[in-house]
Protein backbone atom coordinates (compact mmCIF):
# COMPACT_ATOMS: atom_id res chain seq x y z
CA UNK A 1 0.00 0.00 0.00
CA UNK A 2 1.27 3.39 -0.92
CA UNK A 3 1.53 6.15 1.58
CA UNK A 4 0.31 8.59 -1.05
CA UNK A 5 -3.13 7.08 -1.45
CA UNK A 6 -5.32 4.85 0.69
CA UNK A 7 -6.42 2.27 -1.86
CA UNK A 8 -5.00 -1.13 -2.69
CA UNK A 9 -4.40 -2.86 -6.00
CA UNK A 10 -7.09 -5.52 -5.73
CA UNK A 11 -9.68 -3.72 -7.82
CA UNK A 12 -12.69 -5.13 -9.57
CA UNK A 13 -13.43 -4.44 -13.20
CA UNK A 14 -12.00 -4.95 -16.66
CA UNK A 15 -8.30 -4.29 -17.00
CA UNK A 16 -5.92 -4.59 -19.92
CA UNK A 17 -3.27 -7.21 -19.27
CA UNK A 18 -1.49 -7.46 -22.62
CA UNK A 19 -1.58 -6.45 -26.25
CA UNK A 20 -2.96 -9.14 -28.53
CA UNK A 21 0.16 -8.96 -30.64
CA UNK A 22 2.32 -9.97 -27.68
CA UNK A 23 0.71 -13.41 -27.64
CA UNK A 24 1.29 -14.42 -31.24
CA UNK A 25 -0.55 -17.42 -32.68
CA UNK A 26 -0.28 -19.60 -29.62
CA UNK A 27 1.76 -18.34 -26.76
CA UNK A 28 2.12 -17.85 -23.05
CA UNK A 29 2.80 -14.55 -21.31
CA UNK A 30 3.60 -13.78 -17.69
CA UNK A 31 1.99 -10.74 -16.20
CA UNK A 32 1.88 -9.22 -12.78
CA UNK A 33 -1.36 -7.40 -11.94
CA UNK A 34 -3.48 -6.75 -8.85
CA UNK A 35 -0.43 -7.70 -6.77
CA UNK A 36 -0.40 -11.26 -8.12
CA UNK A 37 1.18 -13.33 -10.87
CA UNK A 38 -0.87 -14.35 -13.89
CA UNK A 39 -0.31 -16.28 -17.09
CA UNK A 40 -2.10 -15.36 -20.29
CA UNK A 41 -2.22 -17.94 -23.05
CA UNK A 42 -3.75 -18.31 -26.47
CA UNK A 43 -5.11 -21.74 -27.32
CA UNK A 44 -4.97 -23.24 -30.78
CA UNK A 45 -8.47 -21.95 -31.58
CA UNK A 46 -7.15 -18.43 -31.01
CA UNK A 47 -9.05 -17.82 -27.78
CA UNK A 48 -7.16 -16.06 -25.02
CA UNK A 49 -7.36 -16.92 -21.33
CA UNK A 50 -5.76 -15.59 -18.16
CA UNK A 51 -5.09 -17.94 -15.24
CA UNK A 52 -3.41 -17.53 -11.85
CA UNK A 53 0.23 -18.35 -12.44
CA UNK A 54 0.93 -21.02 -9.83
CA UNK A 55 -0.06 -24.63 -10.34
CA UNK A 56 -2.33 -25.73 -7.46
CA UNK A 57 -0.59 -29.10 -7.44
CA UNK A 58 2.99 -28.36 -6.39
CA UNK A 59 3.31 -24.69 -7.10
CA UNK A 60 5.21 -24.45 -10.39
CA UNK A 61 4.82 -21.22 -12.33
CA UNK A 62 2.86 -22.13 -15.45
CA UNK A 63 4.41 -19.29 -17.41
CA UNK A 64 7.97 -20.52 -17.04
CA UNK A 65 8.09 -23.53 -19.32
CA UNK A 66 4.35 -24.16 -19.57
CA UNK A 67 3.10 -25.13 -23.04
CA UNK A 68 -0.16 -24.70 -24.86
CA UNK A 69 -1.68 -28.06 -25.74
CA UNK A 70 -4.85 -27.58 -27.76
CA UNK A 71 -7.01 -25.35 -25.61
CA UNK A 72 -5.17 -26.19 -22.41
CA UNK A 73 -2.07 -25.04 -20.63
CA UNK A 74 0.33 -27.77 -19.53
CA UNK A 75 2.33 -27.32 -16.35
CA UNK A 76 6.11 -27.66 -16.90
CA UNK A 77 6.64 -29.53 -13.61
CA UNK A 78 4.30 -32.54 -13.59
CA UNK A 79 2.43 -32.13 -16.86
CA UNK A 80 -1.00 -31.40 -15.39
CA UNK A 81 -3.22 -29.70 -18.00
CA UNK A 82 -5.60 -26.87 -17.17
CA UNK A 83 -8.43 -25.76 -19.39
CA UNK A 84 -9.82 -22.30 -19.96
CA UNK A 85 -12.02 -22.49 -16.86
CA UNK A 86 -8.98 -23.36 -14.75
CA UNK A 87 -10.04 -26.97 -14.15
CA UNK A 88 -7.37 -29.67 -14.31
CA UNK A 89 -8.40 -31.83 -17.25
CA UNK A 90 -5.65 -34.41 -17.29
CA UNK A 91 -2.50 -35.65 -15.65
CA UNK A 92 0.23 -37.80 -17.18
CA UNK A 93 -0.75 -40.51 -14.69
CA UNK A 94 -3.98 -41.08 -16.58
CA UNK A 95 -6.83 -42.29 -14.48
CA UNK A 96 -9.33 -40.10 -12.73
CA UNK A 97 -9.15 -36.36 -13.15
CA UNK A 98 -7.94 -34.74 -9.95
CA UNK A 99 -10.17 -32.11 -8.45
CA UNK A 100 -7.68 -29.34 -8.91
CA UNK A 101 -8.71 -25.89 -9.91
CA UNK A 102 -6.80 -22.77 -10.70
CA UNK A 103 -8.28 -19.30 -10.66
CA UNK A 104 -9.36 -18.17 -14.12
CA UNK A 105 -10.22 -14.59 -14.96
CA UNK A 106 -12.90 -13.81 -17.55
CA UNK A 107 -10.84 -12.76 -20.54
CA UNK A 108 -11.70 -10.97 -23.76
CA UNK A 109 -9.80 -9.55 -26.63
CA UNK A 110 -10.92 -6.44 -28.43
CA UNK A 111 -9.21 -4.01 -30.75
CA UNK A 112 -5.83 -5.58 -30.18
CA UNK A 113 -6.06 -5.50 -26.37
CA UNK A 114 -6.40 -8.45 -24.00
CA UNK A 115 -8.65 -7.53 -21.09
CA UNK A 116 -9.36 -9.49 -17.94
CA UNK A 117 -12.13 -9.09 -15.41
CA UNK A 118 -10.75 -9.08 -11.91
CA UNK A 119 -13.11 -9.30 -8.97
CA UNK A 120 -14.73 -11.71 -6.58
CA UNK A 121 -15.61 -14.96 -8.40
CA UNK A 122 -19.28 -14.65 -7.49
CA UNK A 123 -19.50 -11.18 -9.05
CA UNK A 124 -20.45 -11.55 -12.70
CA UNK A 125 -18.33 -9.64 -15.15
CA UNK A 126 -20.40 -6.72 -16.40
CA UNK A 127 -20.03 -6.04 -20.10
CA UNK A 128 -17.83 -3.32 -21.48
CA UNK A 129 -19.66 -0.89 -23.75
CA UNK A 130 -20.24 -2.13 -27.28
CA UNK A 131 -17.71 -0.99 -29.80
CA UNK A 132 -19.10 1.70 -32.08
CA UNK A 133 -19.60 0.64 -35.65
CA UNK A 134 -17.47 3.42 -37.15
CA UNK A 135 -14.78 2.27 -39.49
CA UNK A 136 -11.78 3.28 -37.49
CA UNK A 137 -8.25 2.96 -38.78
CA UNK A 138 -5.61 0.74 -37.26
CA UNK A 139 -4.86 1.69 -33.64
CA UNK A 140 -1.54 2.98 -32.41
CA UNK A 141 -0.45 1.24 -29.21
CA UNK A 142 1.47 3.01 -26.46
CA UNK A 143 2.30 2.15 -22.89
CA UNK A 144 3.98 3.69 -19.92
CA UNK A 145 4.97 2.19 -16.59
CA UNK A 146 4.39 4.76 -13.90
CA UNK A 147 3.91 5.05 -10.16
CA UNK A 148 0.26 5.80 -9.54
CA UNK A 149 -3.15 4.22 -9.10
CA UNK A 150 -5.98 3.65 -11.65
CA UNK A 151 -8.40 5.78 -9.65
CA UNK A 152 -6.05 8.74 -9.93
CA UNK A 153 -5.83 8.28 -13.70
CA UNK A 154 -9.58 8.07 -14.20
CA UNK A 155 -10.25 10.96 -11.82
CA UNK A 156 -8.71 13.26 -14.41
CA UNK A 157 -11.68 12.67 -16.71
CA UNK A 158 -13.94 14.63 -14.38
CA UNK A 159 -11.32 17.07 -13.14
CA UNK A 160 -12.29 20.14 -15.14
CA UNK A 161 -9.64 22.37 -13.64
CA UNK A 162 -6.71 20.30 -14.82
CA UNK A 163 -7.67 20.62 -18.48
CA UNK A 164 -6.64 24.25 -18.53
CA UNK A 165 -3.84 24.19 -15.98
CA UNK A 166 -2.13 21.02 -17.24
CA UNK A 167 -3.11 20.83 -20.88
CA UNK A 168 -3.68 24.48 -21.69
CA UNK A 169 -7.25 23.93 -22.89
CA UNK A 170 -9.45 27.01 -22.86
CA UNK A 171 -13.15 27.55 -22.61
CA UNK A 172 -14.13 24.17 -21.18
CA UNK A 173 -17.86 23.80 -21.63
CA UNK A 174 -19.60 20.69 -20.30
CA UNK A 175 -21.82 19.34 -23.09
CA UNK A 176 -23.33 16.58 -21.05
CA UNK A 177 -23.33 16.52 -17.28
CA UNK A 178 -21.43 13.65 -15.66
CA UNK A 179 -23.71 10.62 -15.58
CA UNK A 180 -23.09 7.39 -13.79
CA UNK A 181 -24.76 4.14 -14.63
CA UNK A 182 -23.55 1.20 -12.58
CA UNK A 183 -19.87 0.73 -13.41
CA UNK A 184 -20.04 3.24 -16.26
CA UNK A 185 -19.45 6.96 -16.10
CA UNK A 186 -20.05 9.34 -18.99
CA UNK A 187 -19.18 12.96 -19.53
CA UNK A 188 -18.95 15.29 -22.51
CA UNK A 189 -17.00 18.51 -22.97
CA UNK A 190 -16.22 21.07 -25.57
CA UNK A 191 -12.78 22.59 -25.23
CA UNK A 192 -10.46 24.82 -27.18
CA UNK A 193 -6.99 23.40 -27.43
CA UNK A 194 -4.62 26.34 -27.62
CA UNK A 195 -1.81 24.19 -28.91
CA UNK A 196 -2.96 22.63 -32.16
CA UNK A 197 -2.90 18.94 -32.81
CA UNK A 198 0.13 18.84 -35.05
CA UNK A 199 2.69 20.73 -33.02
CA UNK A 200 3.09 24.15 -31.51
CA UNK A 201 2.76 25.98 -34.83
CA UNK A 202 -0.76 24.81 -35.64
CA UNK A 203 -3.82 26.93 -34.87
CA UNK A 204 -6.04 26.60 -31.78
CA UNK A 205 -8.58 23.90 -32.18
CA UNK A 206 -12.17 23.37 -31.04
CA UNK A 207 -12.66 19.79 -29.89
CA UNK A 208 -15.65 17.90 -28.52
CA UNK A 209 -14.78 15.13 -26.09
CA UNK A 210 -17.14 12.30 -25.18
CA UNK A 211 -15.72 10.34 -22.28
CA UNK A 212 -16.84 6.98 -21.04
CA UNK A 213 -15.10 5.28 -18.17
CA UNK A 214 -16.09 1.70 -17.36
CA UNK A 215 -14.60 0.72 -14.07
CA UNK A 216 -11.19 2.07 -13.19
CA UNK A 217 -9.37 0.17 -15.92
CA UNK A 218 -11.01 1.47 -19.06
CA UNK A 219 -11.58 5.00 -20.19
CA UNK A 220 -12.59 5.80 -23.73
CA UNK A 221 -12.42 9.34 -25.07
CA UNK A 222 -13.92 10.18 -28.42
CA UNK A 223 -12.61 13.47 -29.70
CA UNK A 224 -14.41 15.13 -32.58
CA UNK A 225 -12.56 17.90 -34.38
CA UNK A 226 -15.07 19.50 -36.72
CA UNK A 227 -12.46 21.63 -38.51
CA UNK A 228 -10.55 18.62 -39.84
CA UNK A 229 -13.53 16.29 -40.08
CA UNK A 230 -11.77 13.99 -37.66
CA UNK A 231 -12.93 11.53 -35.08
CA UNK A 232 -10.19 10.36 -32.75
CA UNK A 233 -10.75 7.54 -30.29
CA UNK A 234 -8.35 7.21 -27.43
CA UNK A 235 -8.75 4.45 -24.90
CA UNK A 236 -6.69 4.57 -21.74
CA UNK A 237 -6.23 1.36 -19.78
CA UNK A 238 -4.61 1.77 -16.37
CA UNK A 239 -3.77 -1.60 -14.79
CA UNK A 240 -2.41 -1.87 -11.25
CA UNK A 241 0.66 -4.09 -11.10
CA UNK A 242 1.67 -4.15 -7.44
CA UNK A 243 2.33 -1.54 -4.82
CA UNK A 244 2.42 1.81 -6.54
CA UNK A 245 3.32 0.41 -9.94
CA UNK A 246 0.88 0.91 -12.75
CA UNK A 247 0.94 -0.07 -16.41
CA UNK A 248 -0.75 2.62 -18.41
CA UNK A 249 -1.69 1.41 -21.87
CA UNK A 250 -3.35 3.55 -24.49
CA UNK A 251 -4.65 3.01 -27.99
CA UNK A 252 -5.33 5.78 -30.45
CA UNK A 253 -7.22 5.33 -33.70
CA UNK A 254 -9.28 7.58 -35.88
CA UNK A 255 -11.69 8.07 -38.65
CA UNK A 256 -11.70 10.70 -41.37
CA UNK A 257 -15.12 11.95 -42.38
CA UNK A 258 -14.27 13.61 -45.64
CA UNK A 259 -12.83 12.19 -48.83
CA UNK A 260 -13.95 10.85 -52.17
CA UNK A 261 -14.60 7.23 -53.03
CA UNK A 262 -12.66 5.06 -55.44
CA UNK A 263 -9.80 2.63 -54.97
CA UNK A 264 -7.05 5.15 -55.36
CA UNK A 265 -8.73 7.49 -52.93
CA UNK A 266 -9.15 4.57 -50.50
CA UNK A 267 -5.41 3.95 -50.45
CA UNK A 268 -4.72 7.63 -49.97
CA UNK A 269 -7.23 7.70 -47.16
CA UNK A 270 -5.62 4.73 -45.49
CA UNK A 271 -2.21 6.35 -45.62
CA UNK A 272 -3.59 9.64 -44.41
CA UNK A 273 -5.49 7.93 -41.58
CA UNK A 274 -2.34 6.16 -40.51
CA UNK A 275 -0.30 9.33 -40.62
CA UNK A 276 -2.85 11.29 -38.64
CA UNK A 277 -3.23 8.42 -36.13
CA UNK A 278 0.49 8.49 -35.45
CA UNK A 279 0.39 12.26 -35.09
CA UNK A 280 -2.59 12.06 -32.73
CA UNK A 281 -0.85 9.39 -30.65
CA UNK A 282 2.19 11.62 -30.38
CA UNK A 283 -0.06 14.49 -29.37
CA UNK A 284 -1.58 12.28 -26.73
CA UNK A 285 1.83 11.30 -25.38
CA UNK A 286 2.72 14.98 -25.18
CA UNK A 287 -0.53 15.68 -23.32
CA UNK A 288 0.10 12.80 -20.96
CA UNK A 289 3.62 13.74 -19.96
CA UNK A 290 2.60 16.51 -17.52
CA UNK A 291 -0.22 14.30 -16.17
CA UNK A 292 2.26 11.52 -15.43
CA UNK A 293 4.57 13.90 -13.64
CA UNK A 294 1.72 14.99 -11.39
CA UNK A 295 0.39 11.44 -10.81
CA UNK A 296 3.78 10.13 -9.86
CA UNK A 297 4.21 12.66 -7.09
CA UNK A 298 0.77 13.66 -5.90
CA UNK A 299 -1.00 12.46 -2.77
CA UNK A 300 -4.65 11.51 -2.62
CA UNK A 301 -6.42 13.89 -0.31
CA UNK A 302 -9.38 12.37 1.47
CA UNK A 303 -10.89 15.83 1.89
CA UNK A 304 -9.78 17.76 -1.14
CA UNK A 305 -9.95 21.54 -0.94
CA UNK A 306 -12.34 21.90 -3.81
CA UNK A 307 -13.23 25.18 -5.48
CA UNK A 308 -15.97 26.17 -7.84
CA UNK A 309 -15.19 24.94 -11.35
CA UNK A 310 -13.48 21.78 -10.15
CA UNK A 311 -15.97 19.37 -11.63
CA UNK A 312 -17.86 16.58 -9.89
CA UNK A 313 -14.88 15.05 -8.10
CA UNK A 314 -16.88 14.09 -5.04
CA UNK A 315 -19.39 12.23 -7.19
CA UNK A 316 -16.60 10.48 -9.05
CA UNK A 317 -15.07 9.27 -5.81
CA UNK A 318 -18.37 7.93 -4.53
CA UNK A 319 -18.84 6.12 -7.84
CA UNK A 320 -15.33 4.67 -7.62
CA UNK A 321 -15.98 3.02 -4.26
CA UNK A 322 -17.89 0.19 -5.91
CA UNK A 323 -14.65 -1.18 -7.37
CA UNK A 324 -13.07 -1.94 -4.01
CA UNK A 325 -13.62 -4.61 -1.42
CA UNK A 326 -14.68 -7.29 -3.88
CA UNK A 327 -11.69 -9.48 -3.76
CA UNK A 328 -11.31 -11.12 -0.40
CA UNK A 329 -9.93 -14.14 -2.24
CA UNK A 330 -6.75 -12.48 -3.37
CA UNK A 331 -5.54 -12.21 0.20
CA UNK A 332 -4.73 -8.55 -0.29
CA UNK A 333 -5.85 -6.41 2.59
CA UNK A 334 -8.74 -4.34 1.38
CA UNK A 335 -8.92 -0.85 2.72
CA UNK A 336 -12.28 0.78 3.03
CA UNK A 337 -12.07 4.23 1.60
CA UNK A 338 -14.03 5.78 4.40
CA UNK A 339 -11.89 4.21 7.10
CA UNK A 340 -8.45 4.95 5.75
CA UNK A 341 -6.64 8.10 6.66
CA UNK A 342 -5.30 10.36 3.97
CA UNK A 343 -1.68 9.60 4.66
CA UNK A 344 -0.54 7.37 7.53
Amino acid sequence: MSSRYPFGVSLSGWFAIAWSAELGRTGVLNRRAFGQEWVVFRGESGEVQALAAYCPHLGAHLGHGGRVVGEQLRCPFHGFCFDRSGACQSTPYGGKRPRLHIRALPTQERDGVVLVFHGAPQVPAWPLPENPQHAYGRPVFQSWRIRSHPQEIIENTVDHGHFSAVHGYRGLRPLNPVKTDGPHLRAGYEVIRTQGLFGPWSRPLVMCMAIQASGLGYSRVEVTIPRYGLLIEQIVYPTPIAGELLELRATTRLRLFHGAGGRRAALGRRLLTRFVSLAAARGMARDLAPDIRIWEHKAYLQRPGLAEGDGPIGRFRRWARQFYGHDEMAGTPVVKLAAAGAAP
Binding site: Q36, E37, Y54, C55, P56, H57, L58, G59, A60, H61, G63, H64, G65, C75, P76, F77, H78, G79, T91, P92, Y93, G95, P98, L100
Partner: protein, 273 residues
Protein backbone atom coordinates in the same frame (compact mmCIF):
# COMPACT_ATOMS: atom_id res chain seq x y z
CA UNK B 1 5.51 -13.17 -5.25
CA UNK B 2 7.80 -15.94 -6.35
CA UNK B 3 10.29 -18.32 -4.84
CA UNK B 4 9.85 -20.25 -1.63
CA UNK B 5 7.25 -18.60 0.53
CA UNK B 6 7.35 -20.12 3.94
CA UNK B 7 10.43 -22.32 4.06
CA UNK B 8 12.77 -21.43 6.89
CA UNK B 9 16.08 -20.08 5.57
CA UNK B 10 17.89 -21.42 8.64
CA UNK B 11 17.56 -25.21 8.68
CA UNK B 12 19.80 -27.32 10.89
CA UNK B 13 22.24 -29.82 9.45
CA UNK B 14 25.40 -30.35 7.46
CA UNK B 15 25.94 -28.22 4.39
CA UNK B 16 28.80 -28.15 1.92
CA UNK B 17 30.51 -24.78 1.91
CA UNK B 18 33.57 -25.44 -0.22
CA UNK B 19 35.71 -27.98 -1.98
CA UNK B 20 38.62 -29.02 0.20
CA UNK B 21 40.91 -27.97 -2.62
CA UNK B 22 39.49 -24.46 -2.61
CA UNK B 23 41.02 -23.71 0.75
CA UNK B 24 44.79 -24.14 0.77
CA UNK B 25 46.76 -23.81 4.03
CA UNK B 26 46.85 -20.20 5.13
CA UNK B 27 43.81 -19.29 3.07
CA UNK B 28 40.61 -17.81 4.38
CA UNK B 29 37.15 -17.44 2.93
CA UNK B 30 33.97 -15.86 4.13
CA UNK B 31 30.43 -16.43 3.06
CA UNK B 32 26.82 -16.70 4.09
CA UNK B 33 25.37 -19.88 5.51
CA UNK B 34 21.73 -20.02 6.60
CA UNK B 35 21.31 -16.26 6.34
CA UNK B 36 24.26 -15.47 8.58
CA UNK B 37 27.90 -14.74 7.78
CA UNK B 38 30.78 -17.10 8.54
CA UNK B 39 34.53 -17.13 8.12
CA UNK B 40 36.55 -20.21 7.43
CA UNK B 41 40.32 -20.38 7.70
CA UNK B 42 42.76 -23.19 7.04
CA UNK B 43 45.78 -23.07 9.27
CA UNK B 44 49.28 -23.98 8.12
CA UNK B 45 48.85 -27.40 9.74
CA UNK B 46 45.75 -28.08 7.62
CA UNK B 47 43.26 -27.62 10.47
CA UNK B 48 40.13 -25.62 9.77
CA UNK B 49 39.07 -22.73 12.02
CA UNK B 50 35.63 -21.21 11.72
CA UNK B 51 33.52 -18.42 13.19
CA UNK B 52 30.01 -17.19 12.57
CA UNK B 53 27.15 -19.41 11.49
CA UNK B 54 29.33 -22.54 11.31
CA UNK B 55 29.18 -24.72 14.42
CA UNK B 56 31.50 -27.53 13.34
CA UNK B 57 33.23 -28.73 10.21
CA UNK B 58 33.87 -32.10 8.65
CA UNK B 59 36.07 -32.65 5.66
CA UNK B 60 35.18 -35.68 3.61
CA UNK B 61 34.94 -36.88 0.01
CA UNK B 62 36.56 -33.72 -1.24
CA UNK B 63 34.16 -31.28 0.36
CA UNK B 64 34.15 -29.15 3.47
CA UNK B 65 30.86 -29.71 5.26
CA UNK B 66 29.73 -27.15 7.80
CA UNK B 67 27.31 -27.82 10.62
CA UNK B 68 24.65 -25.24 11.20
CA UNK B 69 22.09 -25.14 13.99
CA UNK B 70 19.85 -22.14 14.63
CA UNK B 71 20.35 -22.54 18.40
CA UNK B 72 24.05 -23.31 18.05
CA UNK B 73 23.67 -26.87 19.26
CA UNK B 74 26.56 -29.25 18.47
CA UNK B 75 26.13 -31.90 15.77
CA UNK B 76 24.34 -35.06 16.92
CA UNK B 77 24.75 -36.95 13.65
CA UNK B 78 27.25 -37.23 10.81
CA UNK B 79 27.13 -37.52 7.04
CA UNK B 80 28.69 -40.87 6.16
CA UNK B 81 32.06 -40.72 4.47
CA UNK B 82 32.33 -42.84 1.35
CA UNK B 83 35.33 -45.00 0.53
CA UNK B 84 37.10 -43.54 -2.48
CA UNK B 85 39.46 -46.37 -3.38
CA UNK B 86 39.01 -47.45 -6.95
CA UNK B 87 36.99 -44.36 -7.86
CA UNK B 88 38.09 -41.77 -10.37
CA UNK B 89 38.80 -38.33 -8.93
CA UNK B 90 35.76 -36.14 -8.46
CA UNK B 91 34.52 -33.77 -11.13
CA UNK B 92 32.83 -30.75 -9.64
CA UNK B 93 30.34 -28.17 -10.77
CA UNK B 94 28.63 -25.45 -8.79
CA UNK B 95 25.29 -23.82 -9.50
CA UNK B 96 23.43 -21.09 -7.72
CA UNK B 97 19.66 -20.77 -7.67
CA UNK B 98 16.82 -18.88 -6.10
CA UNK B 99 15.41 -21.79 -4.12
CA UNK B 100 15.60 -23.71 -0.89
CA UNK B 101 17.34 -27.05 -0.09
CA UNK B 102 14.07 -28.74 0.78
CA UNK B 103 12.64 -27.85 -2.62
CA UNK B 104 15.68 -29.24 -4.38
CA UNK B 105 15.52 -32.58 -2.55
CA UNK B 106 11.78 -32.87 -2.80
CA UNK B 107 12.37 -33.58 -6.48
CA UNK B 108 14.18 -36.80 -5.66
CA UNK B 109 10.97 -38.39 -4.40
CA UNK B 110 8.66 -36.52 -6.75
CA UNK B 111 8.16 -39.31 -9.27
CA UNK B 112 5.91 -37.41 -11.63
CA UNK B 113 8.40 -34.72 -12.46
CA UNK B 114 11.01 -37.12 -13.92
CA UNK B 115 9.23 -37.79 -17.22
CA UNK B 116 7.83 -34.27 -17.58
CA UNK B 117 10.92 -32.24 -16.72
CA UNK B 118 13.76 -34.63 -17.57
CA UNK B 119 12.17 -36.79 -20.26
CA UNK B 120 12.57 -40.14 -18.50
CA UNK B 121 10.79 -42.77 -20.50
CA UNK B 122 10.56 -45.29 -17.73
CA UNK B 123 10.57 -45.13 -13.97
CA UNK B 124 10.15 -48.08 -11.66
CA UNK B 125 10.39 -47.85 -7.93
CA UNK B 126 12.72 -50.64 -6.82
CA UNK B 127 12.66 -49.67 -3.20
CA UNK B 128 10.08 -47.29 -1.80
CA UNK B 129 11.39 -44.33 0.20
CA UNK B 130 12.46 -45.16 3.71
CA UNK B 131 12.85 -42.42 6.23
CA UNK B 132 15.14 -42.91 9.17
CA UNK B 133 16.52 -40.54 11.76
CA UNK B 134 18.73 -38.46 9.58
CA UNK B 135 18.56 -40.06 6.21
CA UNK B 136 16.10 -40.88 3.53
CA UNK B 137 16.71 -43.37 0.78
CA UNK B 138 14.87 -44.51 -2.31
CA UNK B 139 15.83 -46.59 -5.35
CA UNK B 140 14.52 -46.47 -8.91
CA UNK B 141 15.15 -48.09 -12.23
CA UNK B 142 15.12 -45.46 -14.91
CA UNK B 143 15.34 -45.19 -18.65
CA UNK B 144 15.69 -42.01 -20.58
CA UNK B 145 15.92 -40.80 -24.11
CA UNK B 146 19.45 -41.42 -25.22
CA UNK B 147 21.82 -38.80 -26.56
CA UNK B 148 23.30 -41.42 -28.91
CA UNK B 149 20.47 -43.30 -30.57
CA UNK B 150 22.65 -46.11 -31.89
CA UNK B 151 23.75 -47.29 -28.49
CA UNK B 152 21.65 -49.89 -26.72
CA UNK B 153 19.15 -48.43 -24.30
CA UNK B 154 20.59 -48.47 -20.81
CA UNK B 155 18.38 -48.81 -17.81
CA UNK B 156 20.46 -47.83 -14.82
CA UNK B 157 19.35 -48.16 -11.24
CA UNK B 158 19.36 -44.96 -9.33
CA UNK B 159 19.56 -44.75 -5.58
CA UNK B 160 19.20 -41.54 -3.59
CA UNK B 161 20.54 -41.36 -0.06
CA UNK B 162 19.74 -38.05 1.48
CA UNK B 163 21.47 -37.00 4.69
CA UNK B 164 19.67 -34.08 6.24
CA UNK B 165 18.78 -31.21 3.95
CA UNK B 166 22.28 -30.59 2.67
CA UNK B 167 23.86 -33.76 1.32
CA UNK B 168 22.47 -36.26 -1.14
CA UNK B 169 24.63 -39.19 -2.20
CA UNK B 170 23.21 -40.63 -5.37
CA UNK B 171 24.39 -44.02 -6.56
CA UNK B 172 23.83 -44.96 -10.16
CA UNK B 173 24.63 -48.40 -11.49
CA UNK B 174 24.74 -49.48 -15.10
CA UNK B 175 25.32 -53.24 -14.84
CA UNK B 176 25.52 -53.75 -18.63
CA UNK B 177 28.54 -51.48 -18.83
CA UNK B 178 29.96 -52.43 -15.47
CA UNK B 179 29.77 -48.79 -14.48
CA UNK B 180 29.02 -47.24 -11.14
CA UNK B 181 28.47 -43.54 -10.64
CA UNK B 182 28.44 -41.52 -7.47
CA UNK B 183 26.78 -38.18 -7.60
CA UNK B 184 27.00 -35.77 -4.71
CA UNK B 185 24.18 -33.23 -4.81
CA UNK B 186 24.69 -30.74 -2.04
CA UNK B 187 22.32 -27.83 -1.51
CA UNK B 188 23.50 -25.10 0.79
CA UNK B 189 21.19 -22.33 1.97
CA UNK B 190 23.03 -19.03 1.74
CA UNK B 191 21.16 -15.74 1.70
CA UNK B 192 17.43 -16.19 2.38
CA UNK B 193 15.85 -17.51 -0.80
CA UNK B 194 19.11 -18.68 -2.35
CA UNK B 195 20.95 -21.98 -2.54
CA UNK B 196 24.37 -22.96 -3.72
CA UNK B 197 24.26 -26.37 -5.36
CA UNK B 198 27.53 -28.27 -5.36
CA UNK B 199 27.53 -31.23 -7.69
CA UNK B 200 30.28 -33.81 -7.64
CA UNK B 201 30.49 -36.85 -9.89
CA UNK B 202 32.83 -39.76 -9.54
CA UNK B 203 32.78 -43.02 -11.51
CA UNK B 204 34.16 -46.51 -11.20
CA UNK B 205 34.33 -49.13 -13.92
CA UNK B 206 34.92 -52.85 -13.50
CA UNK B 207 37.00 -53.14 -16.69
CA UNK B 208 34.25 -53.92 -19.15
CA UNK B 209 34.53 -50.42 -20.62
CA UNK B 210 37.77 -49.44 -22.36
CA UNK B 211 39.79 -47.31 -19.95
CA UNK B 212 40.53 -44.70 -22.59
CA UNK B 213 36.83 -43.86 -22.76
CA UNK B 214 36.40 -43.31 -19.05
CA UNK B 215 37.38 -39.62 -18.92
CA UNK B 216 34.86 -38.92 -21.68
CA UNK B 217 32.15 -40.92 -19.99
CA UNK B 218 32.89 -39.14 -16.74
CA UNK B 219 32.66 -35.79 -18.46
CA UNK B 220 29.46 -36.79 -20.28
CA UNK B 221 27.76 -37.84 -17.05
CA UNK B 222 28.75 -34.60 -15.35
CA UNK B 223 27.35 -32.71 -18.31
CA UNK B 224 24.09 -34.65 -18.03
CA UNK B 225 23.79 -34.00 -14.32
CA UNK B 226 24.30 -30.27 -14.75
CA UNK B 227 21.80 -30.25 -17.60
CA UNK B 228 19.17 -31.97 -15.44
CA UNK B 229 19.75 -29.56 -12.59
CA UNK B 230 19.38 -26.60 -14.90
CA UNK B 231 16.01 -27.96 -16.00
CA UNK B 232 14.97 -28.20 -12.36
CA UNK B 233 16.28 -24.75 -11.52
CA UNK B 234 14.04 -23.20 -14.19
CA UNK B 235 11.09 -24.57 -12.20
CA UNK B 236 12.44 -23.94 -8.70
CA UNK B 237 13.23 -20.34 -9.36
CA UNK B 238 9.68 -19.53 -10.31
CA UNK B 239 7.57 -21.89 -8.27
CA UNK B 240 5.70 -21.25 -5.11
CA UNK B 241 5.98 -23.47 -2.06
CA UNK B 242 2.53 -24.96 -1.53
CA UNK B 243 1.75 -26.06 1.98
CA UNK B 244 -0.26 -28.15 2.13
CA UNK B 245 0.04 -29.22 -1.49
CA UNK B 246 -2.96 -30.59 -3.36
CA UNK B 247 -1.60 -34.02 -4.14
CA UNK B 248 -2.96 -36.87 -6.18
CA UNK B 249 -2.44 -40.53 -5.40
CA UNK B 250 0.34 -41.08 -7.96
CA UNK B 251 2.45 -38.23 -6.66
CA UNK B 252 4.72 -40.28 -4.49
CA UNK B 253 5.49 -39.78 -0.84
CA UNK B 254 5.75 -36.00 -0.88
CA UNK B 255 3.70 -35.76 2.30
CA UNK B 256 5.97 -38.18 4.20
CA UNK B 257 9.03 -36.37 2.89
CA UNK B 258 7.79 -33.04 4.18
CA UNK B 259 6.93 -34.63 7.49
CA UNK B 260 10.49 -35.99 7.73
CA UNK B 261 11.91 -32.54 6.86
CA UNK B 262 10.32 -30.93 9.89
CA UNK B 263 13.09 -32.12 12.18
CA UNK B 264 15.50 -29.75 10.46
CA UNK B 265 13.58 -26.67 11.43
CA UNK B 266 13.95 -26.40 15.18
CA UNK B 267 13.43 -22.66 14.97
CA UNK B 268 10.07 -22.79 13.27
CA UNK B 269 7.36 -25.12 12.11
CA UNK B 270 6.82 -23.02 9.00
CA UNK B 271 9.16 -25.24 7.03
CA UNK B 272 6.79 -28.13 6.94
CA UNK B 273 3.12 -28.57 6.41
Amino acid sequence: MSGPRSLDPRPAGWFAVALSAELAPGQERSGILCAAPYRLHRQRDGQLRYVGSIGAVAEQNGYILAWHHPFAQPPDWQVPCLDETGWRPLRHHQLRARSHPQETYENSIDLAHFPVVHGFTELTVLQAPTFSDNSMSVRYRIARTHPLPLLPRIRPSFEVRLHGLGCAHNHIEVPVAGLRVRMFAQSTPTEPGWVDIRLGVSIRANGRLPGVLLPWIHRGIMHNVVHDFCQDIAIWENKQYRAPPLLVREDGPIGSFRQWCRRYYPATVGGAD
